[in-house]
Amino acid sequence: MSENKNEILLYAEVTKEKFIHTVFFELAQKSAELAGKLGDCKISAMLFTAPDRLKDYKDGFLKSGIDKVYVFENEKFQNYNTELYSKLAIELIKEINPKIVLIGATNEGRDLAPRISSALHTGLTADCTDLDINEKGQLAATRPTFGGKLMATILCKTLPQMATVRPKVFKPLKEDILKETDFIVKTPDLSDFKPKTELLEFVKTLEDEINELDSAEIIVAGGKGAGSEAGFEVLREFAKALNGTLGATRGAVDMGIAPKCIQIGQTGKTVRPKIYIACGISGAIQHLVGMQDSDKIIAINTDENAPIFEIADFGIVGDMFKILPELIEILKKN
């Protein structure tokens, strides 16, 4: 293998709606920072797309500071397939020898990334909450472990150094980073390639609710402290009075008092609203990693030592079922 180049390769995931996934732009923004620390470093992307669709994606790449896009075009790239995508990604990485490969930690990315890293006999750090370049020029990937009780910074002995990052962990592109972008189109011959796995059907689910949390300005989130479904009704009413969206902890979801699709945290959604109001939530790290970047955080909890107060801008020690009905009344009056 030749020398690894100072290049960061990003996976540009295409969603079912045929958009480039937002996590790609977040990774692009972060990569610009990492590239700055590495010095003289190119940022590239790999894209799998049906022929003739590149035009729909070009604009996004041109604005996100990407030097080069490797575009794989084939009819077979209508839908993600592990075998197909990993095979081509592995070949590409062997050809261009980037130092770092970053992939969004979506279900697709989490399926693809370990397959690539394992075949390349290299390391992969999953679900990072921070990426940095250390004094030796290595990728320092930080992630929670032990159920979030511990943070670990992980280094990799081999190249490329790989990591996955969940959507919304990094900030989106603040402003366009304009660069001259090269598009290198590859049209692999896949007529002989017969994957052993085949997609028979796709049924879209719960898009509305998922998107609602993504774009919500105010989120009212409830935890086990809400106690019951009736308790969650109070939160729903409060959210409505504020024009906000309802969220929940895994604790509440596991109790069966809130639906799984509104779970926020490490194994749920990552959100970044203007105001996050945590009601009856203790503040476990797995929950915090999903909401800690909210602009303002308010916490209501009966336990004055609950860790959620450490991350809150404003906290009230008290019973949510006393304060919320009062507040709902006030809000309704105005």
Binding site: R110, P114, L200, E201, G318, I323
Partner: protein, 264 residues
């Protein structure tokens, strides 16, 4: 048909407490079957119910004490257990773990048609070991599996949780499946099962048994390593009040202020 089932014993992470000098106190922390692996076990048992002559071998890489976990699964109806254990395996990351487990599968269940894993282990939560095993076995994988819809000697059809919905995927065997948690009650052990478990012999496979060398396993065989571990501390400049009559009013004012925004 032969199934290789991979499960892991993990500390009950909800039980872990911090000591005053910022280290983790693992004393008295119970070991449990990784919660996701309960669904992996369930999926394997479900297939055994529908396809006669199915034999399930459960494997785990871990310390000697994991034998008790393997025996518990035998009480549930798993046929046979293998402990992959060697001091040299310590400190393995998901790459080395995948390599070691794949060798054990090839050694103990060489004629497997299916490998079943959990989606995540709650101690590491990487979700990488399954795909790593699949890669080392050179078979395809399906991750985030919610349900097995159909299975026979030649293929399997499953429902998979994709990012924006549910996919139905058909796969030729052999295949590796990573199971998500599902909406069903786990099987309970029967008295007969307990008896069988008591007398069951668990085979141990060491590094030598697998034909691996010390450079390929454990911390040496792992591309990644932990350079630093620390306690997550996130704090904001917070203001905290205790509930009183006018708390709701104060909160209302705060909300209005925060909505107006950008007044740091």
């Amino acid at each position: 048909m032969k199934i290789a089932l991979c499960i892991k014993q993990v500390p009950d992470t909800s039980d872990i407490k911090w000591t005053e000098n910022n280290t983790i106190n693992r004393e008295g922390v119970e070991s449990i079957i990784n919660p996701y692996d309960v669904y992996a076990i369930e999926a394997a048992l479900q297939i055994k119910k529908t396809i006669p002559n199915t034999k399930i071998t459960v494997l785990t890489m871990g310390p000697q004490q994991a034998v008790s976990m393997l025996k518990k699964t035998i009480a549930l109806g798993i046929d046979d257990g293998v402990l992959i254990s060697d001091k040299k395996f310590a400190g393995a990351d998901t790459y080395a773990t995948g390599k070691t487990i794949s060798k054990a599968i090839q050694t103990a269940v060489s004629d497997y048609s299916m490998v079943i894993c959990g989606q995540f282990a709650i101690d590491g939560d990487t979700a990488q070991t399954g795909p790593s095993i699949a890669n080392h076995l050179n078979i395809p994988q399906i991750t985030f599996v919610k349900e097995i819809l159909e299975c026979n000697e030649n293929y399997v059809i499953v429902k998979r949780q994709a990012d924006a919905g549910l996919e139905t995927i058909k796969a030729e065997l052999p295949i590796l499946l990573c199971m998500q948690m599902g909406d069903f009650e786990p099987t309970r052990a029967l008295i007969d099962g307990y008896k069988k478990a008591q007398s069951a012999e668990i085979k141990t496979l060491t590094m030598e048994d697998l034909g691996l060398n010390a450079e390929e396993v454990g911390i040496k065989g792992s591309p990644t390593y932990v350079s630093k571990a620390f306690r997550p501390i996130i704090t904001r400049n917070s203001e905290k009040i205790t509930y009183s009559e006018n708390s709701a009013e104060i909160l209302k004012t705060k909300l209005t202020e925060y909505m107006a925004g950008e007044n740091e």
